[in-house]
């Protein structure tokens, strides 16, 4: 299972919401393989990754994007790479 965490503001701003929406869309393409979580940047979970900008995207505990709304293609590429690493 690939874990995708989107760290954003609480409540979500437009950018944070959009990134979560795109990540969920990609997760929908790979049923049961990707888990997406939207988390507060200012939280103990956020502290673990040293979040300084939102939205921040973390895939399998690795920070992959900071302060950007990645395209669906980019998210899919990152996730697929993780799937290859696992296999």
């Amino acid at each position: 299972m690939i874990t995708v965490k989107v760290f954003g503001t609480q409540p979500p701003c437009v950018k944070c919401r959009e990134l979560t929406k795109r990540a969920n869309k990609i997760a929908g393409k790979y049923p049961g393989q990707i888990e997406v979580k939207h988390l507060a940047a200012l939280s103990s979970e956020g502290d673990k990754y040293g979040i300084i900008l939102t939205p921040t995207l973390v895939v399998n505990d690795k920070v992959v994007s900071v302060g950007k709304v990645l395209s669906e293609d980019d998210i899919e590429k990152i996730v697929k790479k993780q799937m290859e690493v696992k296999n």
Partner: protein, 86 residues
């Protein structure tokens, strides 16, 4: 008295910072006629859910969503307040 609730995220995005400053400005300008309630971060969550909002910043005037996802210009906020009965 018109009630304006301003919901902002935590940490605040640039739009949220701007809208909170605008809220202070309008509270001063319309003292006695406008009640401004600023809700930031976790304190905004109950209202965020109650109004079924999708994102912040947001302005709710007399319990009606007027602005969502952007920081309005002064003119836009004036119009929203006028529509809200100010």
């Amino acid at each position: 008295m018109v009630k304006m609730e301003v919901l902002s995220g935590d940490p605040p995005c640039p739009g949220c910072v701007a809208i909170l400053a605008l809220a202070d400005e309008f509270a001063e300008k319309y003292k006695g006629r406008l009640e401004v309630v600023k809700l930031v971060g976790s304190e905004a969550i109950p209202k965020f859910e109650q109004y079924k909002l999708g994102c912040v910043p947001a302005v709710v005037i007399n319990e009606k969503i007027r602005i969502e996802g952007i920081c309005p210009t002064r003119k836009m906020l004036e119009s929203a307040l006028r529509e809200g009965g100010l």
